[in-house]
Amino acid sequence: MILILFIIAIFVLLAGTIFPLITASLDRKFIRTTSLSFIIVSSILLGIFSFINLISGESVLFTVYQPIKLFSLSFEIDRLSSFFLLLTSIVSACVAIYFTEYIEHMDGNSRRNLLCSSTCLFILAMVLVIASANTLSFFLFWELMAASSFLLVTYEYTREETKKAGIFYFIMTQLSSLFVLLGIIILFVITNSFAFLHLATSSVPLVTIAFLALFTGFSIKAGIIPFHKWLPYAHPASPSPISALMSGVMLKVAVYGLVRFLLDVFTPDVSWGVLILIAGTVSAVLGIIYALKEHDVKMMLAYSSIENIGVIFIGIGLSIIFTASNLPLLATISLLGALFHSLNHAIFKSLLFLTAGSVVSATNTRDIEHMGGLAHRMPVTSAFFFVGAVSIAALPPLNGFASELLIFIAFFTSVAVVNPLFKVLLFISIALFALTSALSASCFVKAFGSIFLAMPRSPESTDAHEVPSAMLIGPGILAAACILLGVFALQIFTVVGFAVPLPDMLFVSILLVGMAVFTYLVLYFTASHEVRVSETWGCGLLSQKASAEYSGHGFSEPLDVIFSAIYRTRIKNERKFFDQKSCLFKEGSGEIRLLKVFEEYLYHPIAKYSMKGARFVARFQNGCLDTYLLYVFVAVIALIIFLGWFA
């Protein structure tokens, strides 16, 4: 009965996809608004559906149609799916609300209709991936998701950076699909079925290969280092609401895939857990370290997504290690931590992307060094961003803290793991995890400080104004969700039916508020009430200049120096001389630039050598008939020899 909600939601999304296509050439606001409100409607329906489903814990299974024997397009929505559906619906509803206004400020005239359409399609694909009941439907919609998101990334195709992002994204997406496909095929070879059948063993090498393939595929999509490089390009290139969707939901779909396969299909080996844990830890630490260095706000958020996905993977890895070590309670806690962090990250990251989008559209720059002082000019946006920043920095009592706390609790209790080798690993991992969350606090102090505090550092940011109300409602809901999910974390888990050893954040929040009120009251009665506004003290400078402020670069400088081993720089000197013996200096240039380690030592060489190889192979086709005939001749002789051999 309740299924009808889901079906209606799907059809509404489908309508939202098709409607702007029919009217593709009309550049009207109402078309886009209608299409986007379809998203909102369907998200609400989906949200209700998945919420009820999540609470009741029943799984709904239905088959749409079965054109051929092997393949049936069927959906199954159990608790795990409902959870991710809920996540999707919350984020997409807010993004859609925001988008209705944002899209009107974008370039592209009637092309924007197409953007609406592909956004609908994108959400539809993600919903269907999550709801899929067999691996083939899963992959089918996975590909649809890839294709539609690709259109979204390359929306502003005329910009040079978008082109680069598009290429990166395209290649990495295809690679991800490739690995997922490989995994699904191997699973089919093992089980002879597309269903998520449980495999009792993990010792067969084929199963391990299947897992590795799926893991790689999902890691690429989720942006785990070293497959992360598409993220920091794709996010800044796409429109902010799209970045919010991609970072908030699409990465989670990859997480969903991993969790789904780990829970339903595999009986994970402990070494898999170690692998996931290491991948997660490395991504978390390196992700945030790279984020610290960024001063492009969206790129920074993208790197921070890598970090958060790393945190989620840490939770998943822990869960597997605990399962294999026969500690089911801890396994549940860490898995819940990972899932809860997925939800939280979806919410606060999309909140941050949306507010960052508002800021970017208000200041026309993505460089945080050119912002500043926006707290006065965009008070509501800044408040929302602040909530997001506090959440992502994992500070109590907001939601980012709640989920990281779960993982921390799992970690702290994890010393019960028997194997001493794993203990050492866990200790290293926990230390790095702590470093990660501290660094992310530092990173978002820098971000919030540079964007919103002090004085504006560019004329655009001086003239910035608050965005229209639709662009505040969306983030507003998300910000509220951040607070509610954090404060009521324990209650939520209780309602869903999990007893987790979380502190009662509601109580702590009440205490916090109480203490603040208490302090205020005490001061109110004891202290002086005089307030004066006066120039900041600047060592005797009469008036303060924005250029004298502490910049974002300056802020992260100490950490840059400390982590200089990771931020490799390359110094390039070019000198020209008048004479051959290099005596008379003519002119020269020097530059120091940040070495993008993965890009320059992994991606570019691969690209370069494959291009080289491809050119070599392409020379095969040299345009000369004689050569071609020679090939035929050689092939014929080879075949005749083959005949003599085998026949």
């Binding site: 195709y157 082109k163 295809q174 494959s610 291009m611 491809a614 192979v617």
Partner: protein
Amino acid sequence: MILISFVLVSVVSLVLIAVTRNHRHMNTVCIMQALIFAALAVYLALTQHVPVFSFLVGSQYFFIDHFGLFEVLIATVIFTCAATYARGYVEGLLESGELEKGSLKLFYAAWTLLLLLIVFAFFSDNFALFWIFAELTTVISAMLIAILAARENIDAAFKYIFIASISMLFAFVGFIFLFEISRVSLGTGTLNWTVLMQYADRFPTGMLIASFVLVFIGFAAKSGIFPFHTWLPEAHAKAPSAVSAILSGVLLNVGIYGIIRMYAIVHQTIAFTTLAPMITVFGLLTVGISAISMLPQKNLKKLVAFSSVENMGIMLVGLAISTPVALFWVLFQIVAHSLTKASMFFSAGILHRQYRNRFSSDAPDDIRDIFRLQPFAAWIIILSGLAIIGMPPFPLFFSEFFIMLQLGAASLWVLGIMLLLLFIASVGLGYFVLTTFTQMSEPDTGSDIEPYLTPASMKVPIIFLIGLLLIIGIFLPSHGMEYLNQIVMELKF
């Protein structure tokens, strides 16, 4: 009777083309011919109880079975679309002087004849007859390539004829072998597929392998299998786009059709265990070479041509798996590839009209401002590009997926290599689209290019094809599936 009506229609068409001097009339005749052919094929498919034997020349030479009819259906659909497309396209060629007015008659006559020959090829029961028709299609289509009379076109046509014909000679040697085999085993020599299929299990394996390998050389050249594919990228790139669509969508099928027919015979005996690895190697090399060649490719039509080669390689690998399911999806891939490739070449043709670079089809495409000038063609290329790299809901997704699935059961290594190569191919395509379609001209110079007004006759077939693809891909019509199953049964897999 049906065959005679095919011939009659063609003769009437030829006469009409010979009589008229007007381009539009000639074109209409061609469209009509293709439509009538399609109607006849559909009529056969719906009413007759295929396989149909014994008419025209007796059971020896012609017959109609599911497979042949299936190919004929594809061919007529593509021809109808191509003929409609040619209405606007050839007009453009005439206007720009690329096609001389005098050659027009020849062009349409050859066109008409080509369709007839292809239909006959698919309806021939006798391998020798099939061989001859296949040869003739080479000749005629080479003329269609050379018709533009630019040196490059002649060159490409020449390469095509040479490589295809030389290889086809080996195929003929293979048929002589086959004839001898049947003579030894059955007493009387025959090249009739139906008879051969019936008694295939009696054939000596050694000779059969020899025969298959030689036949394979010929039809591999026809369908663009490595290392006999070399003519293909050049011929497809240089032919007028309407012709390229036919070359890629129909003529390549002739080759793969021959290979499948022959393989069906071999499959009855133990010989196929020797041959399957050989075919796999050829298939892999084909996919590999074409996929890698796609990476640095800067010319759209060449790229699309290489993608045809790649698809042929996939079909070959699918065939080598030798399971009924794999064959089923190979057949599915044939339809899907033909329709997709035709729509790609059609849109490439629109771009060619827009950015006329007639004297340098080897040179990189100078495509700029494409979304301003030709948004329709650009979108179709993106869509069909997605289709050709196997994105759902396009049908190629299913065929490639299931072929890979079967491959996975056969050999994991080959599967891994195949997936990697498919990835490379899709990257090649994506890279091209991303780099060329995003090129913008300098603000002040771009405005002097006038958008080429695409006639409706060029758009309609493209929309039709894409719609058809989507319908097939989304609904996987059960009648069609049933039909393909029939073919698989007929081929005794």
